[in-house]
Amino acid sequence: MANVAKKVSWSGRDRDDDEDGRAGETTPLLNGTGPGAAGSGRQLTPSSFLRIGQLSNVDLNEDIHELETEVSRQHPNEIPHNEKLLSLKYESLDYDNSENQLFLEEERRINHAAFRTVEIKRWVICAMIGILTGLVACFIDIVVENLAGLKYRVVKDNIDKFTAKGGLSFSLLLWATLNASVVMVGSLIVAFIEPVAAGSGIPQIKCYLNGVKIPHVVRLKTLVIKVCGVILSVVGGLAVGKEGPMIHSGSVIAAGISQGRSTSLKRDFKIFEYFRRDTEKRDFVSAGAAAGVSAAFGAPVGGVLFSLEEGASFWNQFLTWRIFFASMISTFTLNSVLSVYHGNAWDLSSPGLINFGRFDSEKMGYTIQEIPIFIFMGVVGGILGALFNALNYWLTMFRIRYIHRPCLQVVEAMLVAAVTATVGFVMIYCSRDCQPIQGSSVAYPLQLFCADGEYNSMATAFFNTPEKSVVSLFHDPPGSYNPMTLGMFTLMYFFLACWTYGLTVSAGVFIPSLLIGAAWGRLFGISLSYLTKGSIWADPGKYALMGAAAQLGGIVRMTLSLTVIMMEATGNVTYGFPIMLVLMTAKIVGDYFVEGLYDMHIQLQSVPFLHWEAPVTSHSLTAREVMSTPVTCLRRIERVGTVVDILSDTSSNHNGFPVVESNSDTTQVAGLRGLILRSQLIVLLKHKVFVERANLNLVQRRLKLKDFRDAYPRFPPIQSIHVSQDERECMIDLSEFMNPSPYTVPQEASLPRVFKLFRALGLRHLVVVDNRNEVVGMVTRKDLARYRLGKEGLEELSLAQT
């Protein structure tokens, strides 16, 4: 007991003391944590009483099952990575508040006025999210513009110099080396510092809003890497855009601001402490994602709908209104800062990172006869999108299996950058499509082999940032591109973009898709006006727009939000109808072949993602078949040693533990009393809230909800908590901290019912009980997500360590 008394440590500050003490006493603890056989003796202690509940109804198979488990643990079953896996790495977020006594006490203390303050704080946070997201977007835009301008000027001067003298291969080498070295830096920081910043970040945010905790996804470090990575990969000339990553950036900003502190910087501003839990954070993250979309495309409504589409299972109208506020602030901030930067202050004419330019309804109006043509373009977009996704699927699978070392990933990114430059150069070199330089608004006109006063029109497409190329495809007057150029460009860019997506660089797929689509759409428009002898369909620009919409829809398969985003980005409401038709067709056609790019990547990452509804043919599965059993339970008053052992057991990395009545008599019914989370247990152990200490009046103050919040979101691992041998014999009373009213279902509940409860409430644990309220099993996200509708009916995914 003396030992217990000596070890009064209320926070992690005196970790040194802990560690000093630990050196002498670690041995038993480490033995307990070890995965070897040594733990088995101790593990029996919890499991022997944990089975109390099942003894009545467990069948004889169980022993065999246990044996199998033991065997397989000795010889781990190794398989190559495939899409039918669920990774153990991903955990759920706790959207459901743990309604324990502490929580109820705090909520009761907050009066009406205080709730109003909280509401005002929410609005303030949303405004800050909007402003900061807009500023980050400005920063990215300005830096990219300047760096890319510098690069293109250098290369252009070089090419101009060598065109006259000969030795263009040096220009090619210069271009390729510049690209590769810039991309190398971008890829290095992503691969070695923060791998989660790779890609567009939309799949990750989708998962987050779905309720999956992706490690590191909303950290400040990720934001920094993401922003730098995007700048470098766009400047590096990859076939990528900077729009997708804005959504991720907005989310990180939202998550950071709403917590009022940064764990990376180790700064706590002591504000917004009320929002330090997953429920509130998720709301702000959805606002951040909306602000990101709105900054990227100048589409505030589209941003709100994006959040709605991706995280809509938990929604209310006040939240929607707040999110809309954040989006508007974000696009307004971007707009005003950029207008100041461009020298015409308060003009407010550049609402988004990508600006599709003005689509005049007079010049680019459409007639009813064109609707079938647009729908046909949607079909083409769906097919091409499916092709894109299928190719990218194989590539990603290959990458996961073979190119998993960071240095290989960096080399791959560099190679792609070099090849992109080479392909661009060769295309420009071979192209004989010259256009007069006068009256065109080309930023970097490359003459190359054209006559003086003309420029190479292939170079406008390749020798430019993708955003600018998209806009010039939309708006350049008819005749600026010849069909051959467009065809070759589409073909090359399709493969380049497909190859690029999934590299270890942070980059989005929106702009490349738009660019591919705009190129073939324009080609389509030109050939159409050629076929009809140029009667009414004179302007290929609107076909470029529809092609872009079709291609993007075919690749990402977003519906409502994408329609609105495109509509807002063009600033023309009359295009809403054809864009909607095109996107619908593209989605229908594409879904026939293969699923959307983001869903595909979520699946390939083995994320336990819950879709809108349970698989349609799953009605005859019941909770009994779905649940995991046996469940590791805790008694209401539990021995500390047992708790530590359970938490340390690496083979069962559980996060929620049902709490049962603590009677030592094993024959009696041990009914479910509540549910306690691993994080709560760890905080309890850290603060040493033991019954004996309370009896000895050693506890200076009661534990408050604040202590749990301070530890959020990075709870220390159990290994860092030191519990001495004497303390192991103490008892811990969980009744005050457990959630006394967990959601439960009976064994007979069908899978769709369980699924609905789980998805709609954002649960993390669902306890399955029998009719005597004894714990029979536990349903978690992974138990539900493993059922999936595959090609041949219902499939079951297997769990794997990744």
């Binding site: 079953n77 065109t163 263009l168 791959e412 003086d452």
Partner: protein, 307 residues
Amino acid sequence: LCRVLLPALALTLALALFGFAAAAGPRQTPALELAQELAEELWSAGLPGDLPELEPECRSLLAAFAEGSAALTGCLGRRARPVRLCQGCHGHYRRLLAQYGSIASAVGNSSESHNCAKSILTSDRLQIVVTLSEFFNETWEAANCANCLKNNSEGLSNSTEEFLDLFNKSLTCFEHNLQGQAIDLSPSNYTEVCKNCNETYKKLNDLYTHLQRINRQGGESAHSAHLCIDVEDAMNITRKLWSRTFNCSLPCSDTVPVIAVSSFILFLPIVFYLSSFLHSKQKKRILILPKRIQSNANLVNIQEKYS
């Protein structure tokens, strides 16, 4: 005479008033014409001009404007090809601007309601004077003539003069060198020209790029990104002659090294992927058996159950 005239006068008044009242009406122009004719008759008959009619000052201003615009139109038309608008017509344009200005600011001596600006510029639907002047302004803007004129738009600026001198020099050079070969008439035999005029052409080209750069740095707004049309067109003609007709700018195409370098770079990824496929250890996932009630609740079972 009075008996004849009075009804006519009444008619005139009525018509004129009708024309004023229904300024947007379809019948106003013939009505006005009619009124005009009748008014002229009245004038010739020596009647006092208290009709809704232009005052003499205004009439003369209008006449000056008409002459000025006719002169400018003629100038523009004559100098359309090769484009010499800014050099030739800036005087006309300046005069027309002044005339328009005097109309817009002139106030007739009788009363405010009768000032020239109002009666000439805004009293009918067509507003032909305004339209004309807008047309000239727009043309001038589009041609970007302000760019090659002096700041007070009197005469060409120095750089433009210099450029045009050089342009004329190169044209004469072309002519001189072509005279010898005119008999040959074979299109590939312009090597003389290329050799002899290369220097002048280079100078011209450099000056043009220089002017462009200065222009781009100076003016930030979009429309001043172009040089004035005279300079642009002169350069265009020369460049076309040089590279299309004479075929002088033959860039040395080094296809072989480019192909070599590019195929080397394109070859690298293949090597990379092959080597990583062959040498990299395939990533294995360790399967974890879930704890379930029935160990036979596997895929096959489900398939049998539901198919």
